[in-house]
């Protein structure tokens, strides 16, 4: 018996080694391709963490100020929903409190981009076929992609730990912070790896991963709004809360990070199992045959077919998030009492008329910024069509360039307004039901919809880049990301006016509750119109491709 079993085991070992053949070479290829992408992300995340710690020291220099801030923050449901609970009023504790949530979201996005880029995207473009026809094991592409993500995450962990120690924070807390961020990154690298096995398109793989990230965010927010110490089961169910629950700079509990490692390992194992079983280029979600004759009657119809899926996905996510956050707004004021500082922060986010309105306004702004991510993506879809050479035969038809662009811009502009309206309705309904104030629906819907001009302004910048400097159009992602980071950290850090003014969202009146003056809307609309017109004029004149 053993004589039979041993060769079988040896064959299995051999088989798994063959499965990984070429991983080293593919990893070098991945790192070579990402020689700009990974360093930029790592640097941004490190700067975000370290800079934030330095800013806290500047804005809250005394222990008394910090203790008061933390006490008031933790007492406030809505503040906990946004930033999570703070476990320590030390410098490090505060710095981490503000940064961990957005830092976790960003590192998750980085990991997702790296993994999908080297797995499903390679298969979708057909490049993988050529690679896999060489001496490359079945699981080598996935392994090399995960290793590249692991290298990026380790770099962030190490640099954040070093950086925080460098600005004078305790080494233990700094290390846990770095590891916590890296752990979250690994979880979402694994989720992206699994999503890449399930779907046939890179876009859908990113969408699925994004949906998991969004769900994790909402779970964490709901859980943290309910308890002051992060102990809610809802929060524990969200990988985004684990970094915080490792409590850096507050009696660290590094064992919590084992949860991240464990989940990452389990999800990676599932992805590996699937990767070994399927055909190259194929997915587990099957594609059905389509109609033999088409009804797509022009560039608008085509844009609708190409963009409706993404609109629907974003819409679903925003409606669910709106409902949850709307319901959480109820009672935002109750627990506040006379806590000056949390009132100030939320009011810097959301305006100065009553804490509930301020919270709703802050959420409206946040949803506006998230919608801007969609809008920029809808604009840059054009660049994708162009570089994949699918735009060429369309523009070789009797289609004016501007009409082709208009199809996609309709989604960027009208589509984002639809998203805001749907999200606003959901948030209004959630708040109205929870607060027993059904009349609030329209007020809240209007407040969220009023973010549209700022969303359009960012989309307009993307149009300008697309038209004038198409090679650098992807920089629009950087701009919308910058607006999100400023919008998120700015109010808590009380960033200088000059910095806050960089994002169009700062210039909008805080609604509901604020004074809906027309002038700011008109100015931003004018700017959006001018930028869009300039971008389109440049697009009409330039070479395609």
């Amino acid at each position: 018996m053993t004589a039979v079993a041993q060769p079988a085991a040896a064959a299995r070992r051999d088989g798994s080694r063959r499965d990984l053949a070429g991983t080293g070479t593919l990893l070098r290829l991945a790192l070579r391709r990402d020689r700009v992408l990974i360093p930029v992300w790592v640097l941004l995340l490190t700067v975000l963490a370290v800079q934030n710690a330095a800013a806290v020291e500047q804005f809250y220099p005394t222990a008394a100020e910090r203790a008061e801030l933390v006490a008031s923050m933790n007492a406030n449901t809505s503040m906990r929903a946004v930033y999570g609970p703070a476990f320590s009023s030390s410098l490090g504790g505060l710095a981490v409190w503000e940064m961990l949530t957005i830092g976790s979201v960003l590192i998750a996005i980085m990991s997702m981009i790296i993994v999908v880029r080297h797995t499903r995207e390679e298969e979708e473009t057909g490049r993988q076929e050529l690679i896999s026809a060489a001496m490359v094991g079945r699981r080598a592409p996935l392994t090399s992609a995960l290793l590249a993500a692991a290298i990026a995450n380790s770099a962030v962990a190490a640099l954040v730990a070093l950086g925080l120690t460098g600005v004078g924070l305790p080494a233990g807390g700094s290390l846990v912070t770095g590891l916590a961020l890296g752990g979250t990154g690994l979880v979402f690298a694994a989720v992206a790896a699994l999503a890449a096995q399930l779907t046939e398109s890179a876009r859908l793989a990113k969408g699925l991963t994004g949906a998991v990230l969004g769900a994790a965010f909402v779970l964490r927010a709901a859980g943290d709004s309910g308890t002051t110490d992060g102990s809610s089961p809802l929060a524990w169910a969200s990988p985004l809360a684990w970094a915080r629950n490792a409590r850096p700079f507050a009696d660290e509990r590094p064992w919590v990070l084992l949860l991240s490692l464990g989940l990452a390992a389990a999800v990676t194992a599932a992805a590996y199992e699937l990767a070994g079983r399927r055909d190259i280029g194929a997915s587990f979600l099957a594609t059905r045959p389509g109609p033999a004759a088409g009804r797509i009657n022009g560039p608008y119809g085509l844009a609708w077919r190409l963009q409706r899926g993404s609109l629907l996905g974003w819409g679903t996510g925003l409606v669910l998030a709106g409902l949850v956050f709307g319901a959480m707004a109820e009672g935002a004021g109750d627990l506040l009492g006379d806590n000056e500082q949390s009132r100030e922060i939320i009011e810097r986010m959301g305006g100065a008329s009553g804490i509930t309105d301020a919270f709703l306004a802050a959420m409206a702004g946040l949803f506006g910024m998230i919608t801007a991510v969609y809008a920029v993506g809808a604009v840059l879809r054009m660049r994708g069509e162009e570089t994949s050479e699918r735009a060429e035969p369309i523009l070789a038809g009797a289609v004016p360039r501007l009409r082709w662009a208009a199809g996609h811009l309709l989604f960027a502009f009208a589509g984002s307004a639809v998203l805001l309206a749907a999200c606003g309705l959901a948030m209004g309904a959630g708040y109205g039901l929870a607060a027993g104030e059904p009349g609030a629906v329209w007020r809240v819907t209007g407040a969220v919809l009023a973010q549209a001009p700022a969303v359009w302004a960012l989309a307009a910048v993307a149009v300008l880049l697309l038209g004038a400097v198409p090679g650098a159009a992807a920089a629009a992602w950087g701009l919308v990301g910058g607006a999100l980071v400023i919008g998120w950290l700015g109010p808590a850090l009380d960033l200088p006016r000059a910095v806050m003014n960089l994002t169009p969202f700062t210039h909008l009146p805080k609604l509901p509750g604020g004074d809906p003056a027309a002038a700011p809307y008109l100015w931003i609309l004018l700017a959006a119109a001018v930028l869009t017109a300039a971008g389109l004029a440049a697009f009409r004149r330039r070479d395609i491709g």
Binding site: T287, A293, I544
Partner: protein, 318 residues
Amino acid sequence: MTKATTAISVSGLVKTFGRTRALDGLDLHVETGEVHGFLGPNGSGKSTTIRVLLGLLRADSGTTRLLDGDPWRDAVELHRRVAYVPGDVTLWRNLSGGEVIDLYGRLRGGLDTRRRGELLERFELDPTKKGRTYSKGNRQKVALVAAFASDVELLILDEPTSGLDPLMEGVFRDCVAEERDRGRTVLLSSHILSEVEALCDRVSIIRRGVTVESGSLTDLRHLTRTSVSAELADEPDGLSGLPGVHDLSVRGRRVRLQVDTDKLDGVLRRLAETGVRSLTSTPPTLEELFLRHYQDEPGKPGGLGNGAAADGEEVVAS
């Protein structure tokens, strides 16, 4: 609509990308109703020219007329009358082939549905499959069916048969011939010389962004060399001094040489004077013709048309 006699008229076309000069004074003239071959080595500027003709790229200088319009300014009106097939068709993964064919048709002057059905049958294409699942050849067929079923005056085909099997290649040739019979104009960029020989009335050969030759295939043949090998009655003499003679090798009474086709007379006369026992003369193959033009010759961009052929230093693969 008045039909101009010239469908495409390009002269002195220049297009640069940064420091690269992709087109350097290119000329191209395509008469209405002809099938015009557009040839050149990889990277010589064929696709760039086609993109300028389609108004996708903006010319730096030179004049370009397409169906009596300006390809940049009148792009949309012109595109109603033009169908284009790129060499590498990319489809949307979630749209079926049938949907894409109909979309392309609607973006042009419209689609002849009867002909669409007939073409689908002839090309053996399943229109219900999604873009992602088509093979390279089948993706080409999607664009070809859309182009041939479109109601247009001019077809611009950029290496349209890459990936087609020989059977489908035959269907493609039939379709092009039908288009010509219907009075349509075709600009065909291709590397498949038998295809060009079978289909094209005239050809233009470009290299490094410049037109090096243009004319009918007969004209071009005339400008190249014929291989002659002969067994003579006596040892020949004076052959090397004759104009247009290349690669002469004499072994006793056996002679092998190449001669510029328009100088064949003189060589035959001299051979006859010596006395001929046997003689074979091979006309240039199309392959040889193109290889001569494609071959890289820095400093001598003129090719055969302006006397470079007389130099006789070129080594021709045979």
